[in-house]
Amino acid sequence: MSSILPQLLTGLATASSLFLISAGLTIIFGVSRIVNFSHGSLMMLGAYIGWSILTRLPREPEWFALGVLATALATAIIGVVLEMAVLRRVYRSPELFQLLATFGVVLIIQDVTLLLWGPTELPLPRPRWLRGFVEVAGSRFPLYDLVLIAIGPLVLGLLWLALNRTRWGTLVRAATLDREMVAALGVDQRRLFTSVFALGAGLAGLGGALSLPNASANLGIDLSVIADAFVVVVVGGLGSLPGAFLASVLIGVLQAFGIVLVPKITLVLVFLVMAVVLVFRPNGLLGRPQTEAREATVAAPVVRPAPPALRLLGAVTLALAVAAPFIVGGYYLTVLTDACVAILFATSLHFMMGPGGMASFGHAAWFGIGAYAAGLLLHWAGAPMPLGLLAAPVAAGLVSGLFGLFVVRLSGVYLAMLTLAFAQIAWAVSFQWVEVTGGDNGLLGVWPPDWARDPRLYYWMALALSVGVALLLRRALYAPYGYALRAARDSTPRARAIGLDVEGLRMVALVIAGAACGLGGAIFAYGKGGVFPTYISIPHSVEALLMVLLGGLQTVAGPIVGALVYTGLADILVRSTDLWRLVLGAVIVVLVVAFPEGIAGAVRRLWLRGREA
């Protein structure tokens, strides 16, 4: 029992760290509606810059404080550069495009950090005062953790003052509530956004520097931090600072005691908390319902059937694809098979995201569930491939239906975040439940039967299935169901008013998307000979988003173009340079800035120019 107090204090110290990394994210989101994937990368830069500064300073506490502040300032400047160079150019694009741009930045920063600081982790040597401790209930408690416990509320207080007692803060709060109104009143939005982004980046840098005494600067910070920060921000309520603080304390303390009581499932615990909170409070603990951004209420253009020229192009491409095994050799056939899977992956996401209006940050969950359904059936019941290919969409569809029961009321970023939480739970289960899933070693020996072993035959099968499903999805969009779904997306109240069952329509879209994606997962599993937790990882989910957004949301061909371009680009880059992340990230940023409506959208616009209007 004596350990309760130290464990509680430890939880509070964790909470402070969590708050520092999530405060910046929530402020940036509140004002600019940007889900900033690169927030974790900014914190990583903060840790590295902090290391470079602090190792050059004297080791006394006052110099430490100065170095930490200098780091925050440096990261803030990087934030300003980032905002002016990239984000400012994409504010007018559809919401999720900014996310895509920030993910490009994540890739770039990963390689730049590796180039500048090298591959080994860099710990800050701790001077004596950072190693000090105090006796708490018979246990030693680190002095620095006490400092951290104090810093959290201190930062919260300072931010509160800045937001409530300055003119700048008033403008920020106004922009959080209704940014079009603020703009209409003559406030320079650009400066406001830049300053907010600088503040957020500075907070990330502060968090990075302050993490140094307990951890090290390393290349894994970015993705692990961003997952934590998302959870905190969503549980607290997007845009709400006190909410983020409350959520940090809740999660930090729960985790500290969870480690004692249920040491094996701490990872799942955090995401379960998030899921439970969102199911009961869809806007987070202290969040308020999102005011609809006004641009979003302008209905997306109606998707029309493709013009004859495009159909011809599609038919020619399909003919080429069917003939491909006679033209290209073994390796390119596997790349093409991967491309078929990517088409399923992207079109299924597009189905729920474009016409359905439900963005997902965790689409890889359905992919993985399909793959694991096929793999587990083979592993435990010896089921043959055709059964596996059938079971995969059924399993993924069922699970996504169940998932839909809880989330169908949500929309926008909250829904996307819940998909992320679900995907992380699925990932944790597959990664840690070694007895059933084989853990990270995966399920092996998932090969097609002899008759489908020939790569050409397997490719044709994958092609037939992916093109077939893509055509079915397209058919559904032009059926009355598809029109109803789009009506529900464009104006929920009006759709309800004419008697449409909005929740039902969305459920069906979720199930269809989940099932189609699950089929892709199973085809992929048999193609690679195994199922691994990496199928469900966050980067894989992001790949689906990249393909859809690269291709463009507003055309049916978009996700297909995106899937092909992304698969080809990634394959070429990975094989030609160690710096493929840098190049890929740069390409993504350039594409987002140059083609805000996606590749297919841009081609369509150029095509239509001079033909319509």
Partner: protein, 403 residues
Amino acid sequence: MEVTRRLVLGASGALAMPGLLRAQGTAPIRIGEINSYTAQPAFTLPYRNAMQLAVEETNARGGVLGRALELITRDDAGRPQDAVRLAGELVNDLKVDVLAGAYLSNVGLALGEYATQNKRLYIAGEPLTDAMVWERGNRYTFRLRPSTYMQASILAEEASKLPAKRWVTVSPNYEFGQSAVKWFRQLLSARRPDVQFVGEQWPALGRVDAGATVQALEGMRPDGILNVLFGTDLTNFVRQGNTRGLFERRTVVSLLTGEPEYLDPLGDEAPEGWIVTGYPGEAIDTPAHKAFAGAYRAKFNAKPMCGSLVGYSLINSIAAGIAKAGSVEVEKMVEGFRGARFDTPAGSAEYRAIDQQGTLGVYVGKTALRGNAGVMTDWRYIDGKDLLPSDEVVRGLRPAGAN
């Protein structure tokens, strides 16, 4: 769309041209190597350096079977599915003779699957999982490095000599951590029936909540601690443990902590007196190791890391296996690699015929501080063949079709 696909194919075709134009006979023997160069650079970059060094040295000696060695490396980004795709490229497109590589266990297993499906020789350097050569072992897969079992068994032996009776374990919650703890418990309990395990901690890989974990372990009042954390988890754990006094008056045994990849980042906080497996680096003064370390330092101006030892030995083992087989025909190579002896900087080793596991050994010793850096002291090298279970046990673990 059409243009895109053509572009993609055309561009990748152009990259692959050298493979198409290559002649047989006196052409170099190609080793296609796949590893997590971007996902795990701290380990894999020194490893790649040493491979290049070994290839140069082998070629300077006249190569193998009168042919030079050529090394082609690919980055799997830490994803087994990418590794399988790239294996296809290396085999079908670049016509490599031997596949090698992998750092992560799942990548190694996926490549092993690929090897057995396509009847290609695959030599794994780094992956630790026992499944590589036992439960999921197959005819075409060899593994160089001492496995999780071998590392855990030497630590269990050392731990059995200690007075500690109440043990706790802390381990990353995934296959590697789970099997290390399983073997350690089993082997230590067999030697010391009076030992009891009073608690365990399973932080998620790469995301340890170090303060709470240390506090929880402290609350169990153990005499001995088995640690399997490594990398950034280890750094965080050691810092919190030092401040909170977890390691004082306690015995700690720890997997891999003596490898410079993991020990160096601890700096002046490196714990003293932990019993660890690892790699003492330039402190090893055998002639073979001195020559290796000297050549490595001369070429890269850095000290060899554990990854360097593995990469260098990997190339040497491949050269020796091909020389013994006298051919690069796959089935002949499998027979040739079985029982092939090769020299490593650590000493002579072989690929066992019974399970195709390499007998590269383990350095075990104690950690200590020299100046501001952790080092291994009182270390000794234990040949890998002494760390493996009896042949009967191994036969029972390995599928019958694997031979």
